[in-house]
């Protein structure tokens, strides 16, 4: 199994969820995070004062999939999250050694 960690623009979350559902991925966990990257150094203005806001709000999506579903899932996320503008985000894939569904105790791919 693989854990896909995608950091995307917040307003793309709904699109990503739909895209994943379409290819049969029905579970995921999301968090609000603050990202720093090339987009860094955007500024906000308050009372005529420019404030450098180094960290930009992003959403992090974690999805664990079977090995087979990983590629299509990454593909789906990448497409749904893309706006073409800087700060679109990254997708990382990690290996998962074990997965358990708490409610039933099922393990491995069955747990997803």
């Amino acid at each position: 199994m693989k854990m896909i960690i995608a950091i995307v623009k917040p307003h793309r979350l709904d699109g990503v969820r739909t895209a994943l559902q379409e290819i049969g991925v029905h579970g995921m966990t999301t968090e609000e995070v603050k990202g720093y990257g090339r987009q860094g150094g955007h500024s906000e203005i308050y009372r005529g004062a420019e404030y450098t806001v180094s960290f930009v709000p992003k959403v992090k999506i974690e999805v664990v999939t079977s090995d087979a579903l990983m590629e299509p899932a990454v593909e789906a996320i990448a497409q749904a999250a893309k706006t073409g503008k800087i700060g679109d985000g990254k997708i990382f894939v990690l290996d998962v050694a074990k997965a358990v569904r708490v409610r039933t105790g099922e393990q491995g791919d069955d747990a997803l």
Binding site: S43, E44, I45, Y46, R47, G48, A49, E50, Y51, T52, V53
Partner: protein, 436 residues
């Protein structure tokens, strides 16, 4: 002898200049329950401006980890000022000073000595006058809180406010409203352009210089953590300002009504001017901007409220919305003083503008209620400039001295690590938000 009775004999202009409504000049010895009802209410409104109004206004503008410290500053300053007012400041400001009456009041009313339920001040009980004026003595040092958040020691806030009230507020208030030398000159300051906004604004600027800027100033400062909190506080300021300005008529009459009207108009106009200017400068009118414009408009109309008409209010609103905005940028980014929440740019500059413009717009030709007989605009302007300069210099110098002393004794500023960690947990052991 209450000061009001004394003043009544000085005739119209002077009385009005002391912040008593025009109607007040016909010295009345009987209690008016209507006037009393309004000033009791106005007192509640002005307290409401500081707590929670100003506290929320300022609290929303800082970083989340300092929000409680700002609320604490405003709250503690309010308590300290109340006690100082009872103990000595009221007496210094409004008791007859005898030989040195020009410069400072006497000590006859320390601890409200001799003031009972039957004592009158014009048509209202003296206790009500005492309470109403006390709310001004609360909000003035509380305004200065905006100069030093996110880095000051809590002890310094308490010590500074206490000493400042005695050394700066009491004399300034006495000079203008207590029958001192500026009152004698006929300075016009209906509800505190000089007494409140110039003193607070200049002191804020000086204190900000002595204290030094926040880490990362000017560009790496964190934006306001909760603009909604700031808007809530701003709205309370607006509502409360009705008590501030219309209450300064010290009666429920046509003067109060007009003061409320011009107050409101100046606020509305300055708000929109600020927002429109932002739209042209940055493409987006912000909610922080519009409410800052509101405060600027209110500060500017304060000295003028009982003297000008609606047209004067419109012009004062336009000018203050524009000029104060310019000053916020100028002070922070050109002369690089971290007067963090723009106390000088908004209150100081606003108060100065209104104190100057009242000389013009009090004239009937411009819709005003008239200057004193025989006084021309130029005469009045001269007096106003003297009032502003003398109070500004006094405020600045004394503030500088107090700040130096505190800095060398209990210390002004927290350590850098504390500044990063945030004052809430460091100074008060509390956290602003735990939403889990």
């Amino acid at each position: 002898m209450t000061h009001i009775r004394r003043l009544a004999s000085l005739g119209f202009t002077t009385a009005a200049a002391f912040g008593f409504g025009i109607g007040e000049a016909r010295a009345a010895d009987a209690l008016s329950s209507g006037d009393t009802a309004w000033i009791l209410t106005a007192t509640a409104l002005v307290l409401f401006m500081t707590l929670p109004g100003l506290a929320l206004f300022y609290g929303g503008l800082v970083r989340a980890r300092n929000v409680l410290s700002v609320l604490m500053h405003c709250f503690a300053v309010a308590c300290v000022a109340s006690i100082a007012w009872l103990v000595v400041v009221y007496s210094l400001a409004f008791d007859d000073g005898g030989a040195h009456q020009e410069w400072i009041g006497g000590l006859g009313k320390v601890f409200l000595d001799g003031v009972g339920t039957e004592s009158l001040s014009g048509t209202i009980p003296e206790t009500v006058f005492f309470m109403f004026q006390m709310t001004f003595a609360i909000i003035t040092p509380a305004l200065i809180v905006g100069a030093y958040p996110e880095r000051i020691r809590f002890g310094a806030v308490v010590a500074f406010s206490l000493v400042w009230l005695v050394l700066v507020y009491a004399p300034a208030c006495h000079w203008v409203w207590g029958g001192g030398w500026l009152a004698d000159m006929g300075v016009l300051d209906f509800a505190g352009g000089i007494v409140v906004h110039v003193t607070a604004g200049v002191s804020a600027l000086v204190l900000a210089i002595v204290l030094g800027p926040r880490r990362g100033f000017p560009h790496e400062i964190r934006p306001p953590h909760s603009p909604g909190m700031t808007v809530t506080g701003a709205a309370m300021l607006w509502v409360g300002w009705f008590g501030f300005n219309a209450g300064s008529a010290l009666a429920a009459d046509g003067n109060a009504g007009m003061a409320m009207t011009v107050t409101h108009i100046s606020a509305a106009v300055a708000s929109l001017v600020w927002a429109v200017t932002e739209y042209f400068r940055f493409g987006k009118p912000s909610v922080i901007g519009i409410v800052t414009g509101m405060v600027a408009g209110l500060a500017a109309i304060t000295p003028a409220a009982g003297f000008v008409g609606p047209m004067g209010a419109v012009v004062i609103g336009i000018i203050s919305g524009f000029v104060c905005q310019w000053f916020t940028t100028w002070i922070k980014f050109k002369i690089k003083i971290d007067d963090s929440l723009d106390v000088f740019a908004v209150h100081g500059v606003g108060g100065i503008l209104g104190t100057l413009l009242v000389a013009v717009f009090a004239v009937p030709d411009f819709g005003g209620l008239g200057l004193a007989e025989g006084v021309t605009i130029t005469d009045q302007l001269q007096v106003q400039v003297i009032g502003i300069l003398s109070v500004a210099v006094w405020s600045g110098v004394i503030t500088w001295v107090i700040a130096q002393i505190i800095s060398r004794t209990i210390g002004l500023r927290v350590s850098e690590e504390s500044e990063i960690e945030g004052l809430d947990i460091i100074a008060h052991g509390e956290r602003g938000y735990d939403l889990t």
